[in-house]
């Protein structure tokens, strides 16, 4: 177990920002920012990441609350899936007017 990094004095926590571009799409990670609390993080995200009309919905998550997979476990995590082409639904024809799946 590694120790959490020491927090710098007066530093606001880091928030990861997810934005949904249009109805029916999923939220996508767009970047991160600093804010004192969740409410301000939403406001800051609105000002930093949606000023060119990019979104209809914003999620923010405190970066420390995210559990990430470890890059050193890449082999056992992902390589077994490489050889299993039958898991891809590429053998079906999807009509174009179905839109985003």
């Amino acid at each position: 177990m590694s120790k959490p990094p020491p927090t710098a004095r007066n530093e606001w926590p880091l928030w990861e920002v997810f934005i949904r571009g249009q109805h029916g799409m999923s939220h996508r990670h767009v970047g991160s920012l600093h804010a004192p609390d969740a409410e301000m993080a939403i406001k800051n995200a609105r000002d930093v990441y949606t000023r060119r009309n990019e979104g209809v919905s914003i999620w923010v998550v405190e970066a420390t609350k995210i559990t990430a997979s470890s890059p050193s476990e890449k082999g056992p995590m992902y390589e077994p899936a490489l050889s299993k082409v039958y898991r891809h639904p590429t053998f079906f024809d999807i009509p174009e007017d179905v839109g985003a799946m």
């Binding site: 920012l33 600093h34 804010a35 004192p36 301000m40 406001k43 800051n44 000002d47 930093v48």
Partner: protein, 251 residues
Amino acid sequence: MHAPLFEFLLRQGDNTLILSHRVSEWCGHAPVLEEDIALANIALDLLGQAQMWLGLAGEVEGAGRSADDFAMLRDVWDFRNAILVERPNGHFGQTMMRQFLFDAYHVELLTDLTKSSDARIAAIAAKSLKEVEYHVERSATTIVALGDGTQESHARMQAALDDQWTFAGELFETDAGDTALNEKCIAPLPSSLRDRFDARAKKVLGEATLAIPDTSFAHSGGRSGKQHSEHLGHLLTQMQWLQRAYPGATW
């Protein structure tokens, strides 16, 4: 030309233009990147509103003056903004206090103007209101965070409020022109916005643990153009210098 209407449009245009310029002075200087971008957004919102108000003022005047002409080629005594918005930024807390006081007035004014009997005014107000509802939410949140923050931030915000409060009163000054516009349902009486402003100020400043100064004194002279503060001239030298040095320059 309808003189009270022209005067009214200049007042809206100048309040938004001058405050926009003041807020834009933070660009690249705000305490954190996120605030820097937020302030730039607010400045740009206000500049867009100024363009609409002054553009309409030009139409109403009918003398061929554009929004740019009003912004860049008038001198101090022609401006009709309240003194509050021309005051220097001070520190970040002072800027946010000025912003909150203006936003709290602005949002009530625009709400009423969306019902104006003049369709052009109602349209500008409707577009602006969406922006200003966000402005007031943001400035109020910041006021509460800083007012109800540390001992130092509280003391600075109380000093900022003591310093600015007497400049807010001018926003509600009501003259014969305002009465004439109100009779035609073009615009509300500024004085009629005061109760709603006070209610919001009381709520937000109360939450921020700040005490509203016990005075009814109000500085005056900006919206009539009779006596601006010494700060407006300095602001104009910076805002207008390019058009003054290179008349007619475009890009």
